[in-house]
Every structure is written in structure tokens, then in C-alpha cells.
């Protein structure tokens, strides 16, 4: 970095991140549709903004380097060079290079390589001058013509031929047509209208000043006046945003409406300039108004340009950039508020003061709304995550010499930002696995009668309070026999154990288990599957794998929508309070008095003619005091089945701020977190699916060791 970064460089860095993603998406789209002008513009705009903002924020090196790449694309945009695979390749590498530069990692060798490649591309292109910046300009535009695409302001002085109406031209139509290009201000200039006696009713005496802001190129304006140009004086000039807004006098002089000396002489009289000029008859009042409009247009242009440079904010989208830490602290505060609110509700319930209850209910409603709004702010569409994988697929498949089609669905599903960020690495690993180990080589696929292109599918879908993310391929599938052999070899599995395929596949996630790559005898890279599983676990999610030999493998991740706050059902078991996530709760029923406690801690209950197994939480949790006379059963859904949990008391619904259990309690499997209750005590949050998994009602072979009550070493 050659110059000192400005303090708000972070704004640029996060903006650049988005721009690079945009650039990447555009480039990848161009690979399949090289002729797509929209994508070419998208790429160009991204490059241009990176360059511009980079320079503003002191990333001079980035700006200079991006300039080279931008030049290459300018030629493409102007139709002087085609989108070649070479160009896309170099640009993608350049993108990586910009990313490195932004992180202050300079790689001069790579830069030299890119520059050389870009240079080579120039030579190949016909009539390729070394500096595209000037050559690329279309000839009919003024030297300072703005770029198409970006909105720009024009000043049009329109004086039509006197006989134009005689030829059937409707001047109003003409002006309306100009309006279709964009917002414009039109000022009629009636100076030339003669006294009534001298007037030819069929002649056009009017002239107009038109201030037009449009994203259309100048040629679009020219087209409108194409048929009235004969005998007319049409002056079209771009209004450049000025650093210092131009004075009225300067504008009038520039236009040739008055001379500089008139202005100077007038100014000496110390009255508003426009008024004086009109009064002295040097210029008509309409012309002054018109000049004032131009002055304002220029000032606005300057303000807009400054705004864009300073904040990089896009006026079209009304979004603001907020630091993630601020969101986190907002979430923390909302969490504290929810806890305080729970305390208030409890207190108000203990008194007979109806006014206090009213207030408590209001606060409860408000805090619920606030909580939901805050959570909404943190939600990010999963497309931001999926979008990154196109590049991963492209690079990995190219490195391995396989052709892979990537399809996606459900990218609009939203997930908590924290979850999205932490999902990146596991998903990259899963996708790499798909391509590396899952998909066969092209020759093998052809031999097997499969489509030559391998297929990787990413999908996301909401399911209750969870999001399901699937990564599937149509490759060879997992070799269950090999996994079994490996598990037995490692002593993880008894040779005679009977396991379903999905249970067997779960061994792939076992720490220390030689992951799929060894089973398939292909070398891999990146983190192992156990790390994937650990990350998903830490997000309170689950991971499952299913596979059909010869047809492919699907990995399903189930993730909670958010990590911060849930609605919970507060229950009491013994003297401890616990929270069951309300999303899992289906109903609460009375424990029939006749039901005897079964010895194995598990029994069945007949609920509306369905057998529902249930667990005695008192036993599981070793609660000490004698059970309540009227125990309840909370029926919860877990892993697609229903399970009853016997509790001493159902206390009520409770907004639960999830606090992580931390490293010390990482070994406690029955609970996904803890929360603080209204009275300040701590309650654990029951992880129903895991609780059930640990203690399968049928007593089938489970890998869990005896309950963790054994003394530690």
C-alpha cells in the first residue's frame, strides 16, 4: 500500500467485498453467455467502482491495477474485442489479486503475469492501441462525454427552424419525447416572439432550454431531434459536476448570453445579479431562470458525486451498511431487555395491580416485536453464501479435469448472518468432496452411460424453525463396505454389528476416522469431515448423509434459523428449571395416574390412539425431591417422531435468550444452551433431538457411552 489508508477505509473494504462478489458472478455468467451485454456492463461497473472508490480511499495500488483490467473490459464493452476465455481467465485471476491487494498482500509475480497476459490480449485484438482509454471513445460524442450507463445531466438549447411547424412538427411532442429519457426541466425562452402585428402564426419563435438527466447515451438525445435538425440550432452539452458550483454570471457568460464585462459592471451595483441583468435588458428573465436551474443541476451533480465517493451508497437501494459488531451488541441488548421483561412479567403477576399488568403486557409485546425486528435485521439470504461456490466449483472441477454443472435452488431462504458466515468452510469442503470423490471422471461417466457432465446441486429450504441445506451430486456414491471395513479396522464397530446404511455413513464424520478420501483412495485437501461436523454441531445443527451406489450422495444440513433467541416452554423437573424450545413442543398432557414408572426410564403413552414413547426427565436428570403429584407430559417432535417428556410442572411460555454453555460444559450433550430466568436463576435449554438420540426408546445399539455421570479422571 503506497499511501496511508483513510480511517473509513473499512467502509470501502466491505463495499469492495460486495463488488468483487458481483464481479465474480458477472464473470462466471459470461463464461456461459459471452455475448450478454448486461453482464459485460455489470463486470465493467464493478471494476470501475473498485477503481474509483479505491483511489478515493487511498488504495492507490488497487486503483492502478484495476485500471488495467478495466481498460480491457472497456474495449469489450465498446465492442472492439470479444469476451474470450483468456480474458475471463485473466480477469478472474486479477480478481483474486485485487482481493489480496485489499488484504495488503502484494504478489508482484502474479501482477506481472496478469499485466503480461493483458498485454498479450491487446496484441491479439485488431487495431489494439496501447491506451484504450482515449481510443475507446465513440467519435460523435464531445470530448468530455460521460459514460453510458451512469445517469448524466445535459443542457439542451433548442432553437427550431421558424418553419418547423409548417412541416407538421408538433413541438410539444418533441419536448415530451425528451422527457421519456429521464427527469428534465424545460424552460421556454420567448425572447424572439415579435409583437403580435408582426407575428406569423405558423412560425415557431420559441426556443427552449432543457435540463435532462438520463442514463441514455447522447445518441438517444440526438435521435429525438433527428428530423427537426434542418435549419434548427440544437446545442447539447453535458453538465459536468463541478467541484465548486459555478456562479450564475459564469454560466451566462459561458453560454454567450452576455459578456463578462456586463457581468462585472452589473455586479458593482450590488443587487441580485439575475434581477439586475433582467432589469437592464441584457438578458430575458427566462434565460436567467434557465441559468439558475443549470447552476442547481451542477451543484446537485457535485453533491451526488461526493456522496457516491464518500459512502459508496447506492441511491437505488435504500440500504445502509452497519458493522456486524453493532448488530451483535444490539442483539445482546435486546437479549437483556427480554430477560428484564420476563422479570417484570413475573413481578406483575405477583401483584394485584392491574395498571402494572397493563404496562407489563405492553412491554412484553414491544419486546417481542423488537426482538423479531432485530432478528430480521440479522437475516441474510443464503444466496450470498451460495454465490461464492460457483467459483469453487469452477476452479476445483478445472483442477481435476472434470466438467461439472452446478445448480442451486432456494437461494432466497434467509439465515442468521452468523450462521451464514460459519457455514462457508464446511460447505466448501462438502462441495469439494462431491467433485473430488463423489463425481467420476468424464470418461468413466461416459462408460457408465451417465451424462458426461457431473452435476452438483445445492439447495436450501425452510422447514419450521430450521433451514435445510443439501449438497448432492450424481456421482458414484459412498462405498459402505469400505467404510464398514475401515470402522472395524479402527475398532469403532464390532464385526457382527448390524447397522443401517445411514448409521454406517455417520462414521465418516467420526473424528480420527479416515474420511471418505481414503476410502476412495483419492487424495484430498482441506478440513476433514469431522471438522465439518464439529462446525455444524457448534451451530446447533445436524448433519446427515445418504448415498445410493452409482447414483450419488446427498449431505443434508439442518440448521436453526437463528442462534440468539427462541420461544421456549419453561418446565420444572425436581428443583431445576428447564426450557424446551417451543418449536419442538406439540402439546402438553397430564400424566395418567395409572401409568407406572417403567424400570428402563421409558414407557409408552396412548395419545389419541397413537403410541407415544416418553422419557422420565426426573430419572434422566437425577432429580432429588419426590415427584409432584400431578406430573405432566410435554409431547415434542424430534427427528420426525413424537416423544413425551415427563416433567413435574409446566411453568409457561418464556422468551429465551440463548447463552452458550461455553467450553467448560462442551461435554454436556443433553442441553443446547442456557438462559437466565426472570428471577435471575439459570435454566438449561433441553436439546430434544439430541436427548432422544442419546436414549433411543427401543434400546438399540447406540454409540453413546454410559451417561456422563462417571467421575472424570
Amino acid at each position: 500500500m503506497s499511501s496511508i489508508q483513510q480511517p473509513n477505509a473499512e467502509v470501502f473494504l466491505s463495499e469492495a467485498d460486495d463488488l468483487l462478489a458481483e464481479l465474480e458472478a458477472g464473470l462466471l455468467d459470461l463464461e456461459t453467455r459471452p455475448e450478454d451485454a448486461d453482464q459485460i456492463n455489470r463486470v465493467f461497473r464493478a471494476l470501475h467502482t473498485i477503481k474509483g472508490s479505491g483511489a478515493v480511499f487511498g488504495f492507490d495500488h488497487v486503483a492502478a491495477f484495476t485500471h488495467q483490467v478495466e481498460n480491457a473490459f472497456q474495449r469489450v464493452r465498446d465492442g472492439e474485442a470479444p469476451v474470450s476465455p483468456d480474458l475471463l481467465e485473466v480477469t478472474l485471476v486479477s480478481l483474486d489479486h485485487i482481493r489480496s491487494l485489499l488484504q495488503n498482500e502484494d504478489e508482484p509475480e502474479r501482477e506481472a503475469w496478469i499485466t503480461a497476459r493483458l498485454g498479450a490480449l491487446w496484441q491479439k485484438a485488431p487495431d489494439g492501441p496501447s491506451d484504450a482509454d482515449t481510443a475507446a471513445r465513440p467519435k460523435n460524442t464531445a470530448p468530455s462525454a460521460p459514460e453510458a450507463g451512469a445517469p448524466h445531466s445535459w443542457h439542451i438549447r433548442l432553437t427550431l427552424a421558424p418553419d418547423v411547424m409548417a412541416f407538421g412538427t408538433n413541438c410539444l411532442r418533441l419536448l415530451d419525447e425528451v422527457k421519456t429519457l429521464g427527469p428534465c426541466i424545460t424552460i421556454g425562452l420567448p425572447d424572439a416572439i415579435p409583437p403580435l402585428a408582426e407575428m406569423d402564426p405558423e412560425a415557431c419563435y420559441m426556443a427552449w432550454d432543457i435540463f435532462l438527466t438520463t442514463d441514455q447515451p447522447r445518441s438517444a438525445i440526438d435521435d429525438i431531434f433527428l428530423f427537426v435538425a434542418d435549419g434548427a440550432t440544437i446545442r447539447i452539452e453535458p453538465i459536468e459536476p463541478d467541484d465548486v458550483p459555478q456562479r450564475l454570471g459564469e454560466i451566462l457568460v459561458d453560454r454567450g448570453d452576455i459578456t463578462a464585462t456586463t457581468v462585472a459592471a452589473t455586479l458593482e451595483r450590488q443587487r441580485p445579479l439575475g434581477e439586475l441583468l433582467v432589469g437592464s435588458g441584457d438578458v430575458s428573465s427566462e434565460r436567467v431562470v434557465s441559468a439558475l436551474v443549470e447552476q442547481r443541476a451542477r451543484a446537485q451533480g457535485t453533491a451526488t458525486a461526493n456522496g457516491a465517493a464518500a459512502g459508496g451508497t447506492d441511491g437505488a437501494r435504500s440500504t445502509i451498511r452497519v458493522q456486524a459488531e453493532r448488530l451483535d451488541s444490539l442483539m445482546d441488548l435486546v437479549g437483556e431487555l427480554v430477560i428484564a421483561q420476563a422479570r417484570l412479567t413475573r413481578l406483575s403477576g405477583e401483584t394485584d395491580n392491574p395498571h402494572l399488568r397493563d404496562v407489563a403486557e405492553d412491554i412484553e409485546r414491544l419486546s417481542t416485536d423488537l426482538r423479531e425486528t432485530t432478528m430480521g435485521i440479522r437475516m441474510v439470504p443464503i444466496a450470498t453464501l451460495f454465490g461464492r461456490f460457483r467459483r469453487v466449483v469452477r476452479d476445483v472441477s478445472r483442477d481435476l479435469g472434470k466438467t461439472v454443472d452446478l445448480t442451486m435452488e432456494g437461494e432466497e431462504s434467509e439465515l442468521d448472518k452468523t450462521v451464514i458466515e460459519r457455514l462457508n468452510d464446511p460447505l466448501v469442503h462438502l462441495i469439494r468432496n462431491c467433485i473430488d470423490h463423489g463425481l467420476e471422471t468424464t470418461e468413466e461417466r461416459v462408460r457408465l452411460g451417465k451424462p458426461a457432465h457431473g452435476h452438483v446441486h445445492l439447495s436450501a429450504a425452510h422447514s419450521g424453525t430450521q433451514v435445510l441445506i443439501r449438497v448432492s451430486d450424481d456421482g458414484r456414491g459412498m462405498n459402505c463396505d469400505a467404510i464398514r471395513a475401515k470402522a472395524e479396522e479402527r475398532g469403532l464397530l464390532a464385526p457382527d454389528a448390524v447397522l443401517s446404511d445411514s448409521e454406517l455413513l455417520a462414521y465418516v464424520f467420526h473424528p480420527g476416522f479416515s474420511t471418505a478420501r481414503e476410502v476412495n483412495a483419492v487424495s484430498g485437501r482441506g478440513v476433514g469431515m469431522d471438522v465439518v461436523k464439529r462446525t455444524i454441531d457448534s451451530l446447533r445443527g445436524t448433519i446427515e448423509m445418504s448415498s445410493t451406489p452409482g447414483q450419488g450422495t446427498t449431505v443434508t444440513l439442518r440448521l436453526p434459523l437463528t442462534l440468539a433467541i427462541i420461544d421456549g416452554l419453561l418446565v420444572r423437573v425436581g428443583r431445576g428449571h428447564y426450557v424446551i424450545p417451543l418449536s419442538a413442543v406439540e402439546e402438553c398432557v397430564e400424566l395418567p395416574a395409572a401409568t407406572r414408572q417403567a424400570k428402563d426410564g421409558c414407557d409408552f403413552l396412548n395419545i389419541r390412539d397413537t403410541l407415544v414413547p416418553f422419557l422420565w426427565l426426573r430419572e434422566l436428570f437425577q432429580a432429588e425431591p419426590p415427584p409432584d403429584a400431578h406430573q405432566k407430559i410435554v409431547v415434542a417432535a424430534a427427528e420426525g417422531a413424537r416423544i413425551g417428556l415427563v416433567v413435574d410442572q409446566v411453568v409457561g411460555q418464556h422468551q429465551t435468550v440463548i447463552k452458550s454453555l461455553g467450553r467448560i460444559l462442551a461435554h454436556v450433550r443433553d442441553f443446547s444452551g442456557a438462559t437466565i430466568l426472570g428471577d435471575g436463576t439459570v435454566a438449561l435449554i433441553i436439546d430434544v433431538p439430541r436427548l432422544v438420540k442419546m436414549r433411543p426408546p427401543a434400546g438399540s445399539g447406540d454409540e453413546r457411552r454410559p451417561t456422563a455421570t462417571e467421575a472424570h479422571p
Partner: protein, 174 residues
């Protein structure tokens, strides 16, 4: 729950900042008793000392974990060091018993944890020049958890290496 009268602990001194910088600096530690042994922790990691209050139980949490405590809106696990340190003596909870809340770096993150102490003596200055490495034999503590031993006029103070005490994965279920 009210946190009855937290005993103020002197503000973390420059002891940690000076760690390793100068050899003859004094070191402030919080000295406490557990199972008849006097041991100490660097004051820099001690957040507060609380009276013993009822804890929320952690079913199947193991012998190490006594329960959970709300410390100013944070859920803090309170642990029993006795077994971890290899001390077998049982001790009753008395009026002197305290919960000492620590901030321990684990995996690069400062984690809050409470430990049970039979008694908290107070903050003691220790001359780093009089520190010695833990002896290989002769103490009932698990030596790997002892950072150093300070000789004093009236005996020894064992200074715990909390990062090791909590860093070992020995207690976890997996």
C-alpha cells in the same frame, strides 16, 4: 437472585503486564484455601468473589461441574476443582465458602468460570524472585496444574496454572 455482597478484589494490578518483563517484580495473587491446601491465582484473572448461592443443577454434567450461576447477566459454570486437582479430602460448605469468578483464556477466548473455594484469604504480594518450579514429588496436587510455588515465611503458596487446569479435555464426555 441477588449476589450477596461481592467481596471486592483489588483491581488487577500490573502483574500480568509485567509478566516476564522483569524478574524481581512483585506479583499479586489471590490466596485461598481448598481441601486444606493454600493455593493462589493471579489477580489479573479474578473477576469477583461471591458468597455461595444456590446453583442451577446441570444434570449429567459430571462431578467437575457444580452448577450454573448468573453473574451479571452471564451464565457462568461453577466447577469443583477438588477432583481435577487430585485432592480427595471432602470438605463441608461453611460460612467461609466462596465462589471465585475467573476469566480464563480458552481456545483464544476469555471464558468465565466460577470455582468453589473453602475460604478466600485475600490478595497477597509475592516476590517473583522467591518463586520456584513445582517439585516433582512431595505435593498432593497434580503437578502439571501447578505453575509455581512461592516460599513464604509461614509456608508455601501453590500458584495454579488455570489455563492448564481448564484446558485439558480430560473431563469431557468424548
Amino acid at each position: 437472585m441477588t449476589h450477596a455482597a461481592p467481596t471486592p478484589v483489588s483491581a488487577p494490578g500490573p502483574s500480568l503486564a509485567a509478566h516476564g518483563a522483569a524478574d524481581s517484580e512483585t506479583h499479586t495473587v489471590l490466596s485461598m484455601a481448598l481441601a486444606g491446601t493454600v493455593f493462589a491465582l493471579e489477580t489479573a484473572i479474578v473477576l469477583e468473589v461471591l458468597d455461595v448461592v444456590p446453583l442451577s443443577p446441570v444434570p449429567n454434567g459430571g462431578a467437575f461441574v457444580k452448577g450454573l450461576l448468573n453473574v451479571r447477566g452471564k451464565v457462568v459454570p461453577v466447577v469443583e476443582l477438588r477432583a481435577r486437582l487430585g485432592l480427595t479430602t471432602e470438605s463441608e460448605r461453611t460460612v467461609d465458602s466462596r465462589i471465585v469468578v475467573l476469566s480464563v483464556p480458552m481456545d483464544g477466548e476469555d471464558t468465565l468460570v466460577g470455582i468453589m473455594a473453602d475460604k478466600v484469604h485475600g490478595v497477597v504480594d509475592i516476590d517473583t524472585a522467591r518463586l520456584s518450579d513445582p517439585p516433582a514429588v512431595g505435593i498432593s496436587w497434580r503437578a502439571e496444574f501447578v505453575k509455581s510455588i512461592s516460599r513464604r515465611d509461614d509456608g508455601f503458596i501453590v500458584i495454579l496454572d488455570v489455563e492448564k487446569v481448564f484446558g485439558v479435555d480430560g473431563d469431557t464426555g468424548r
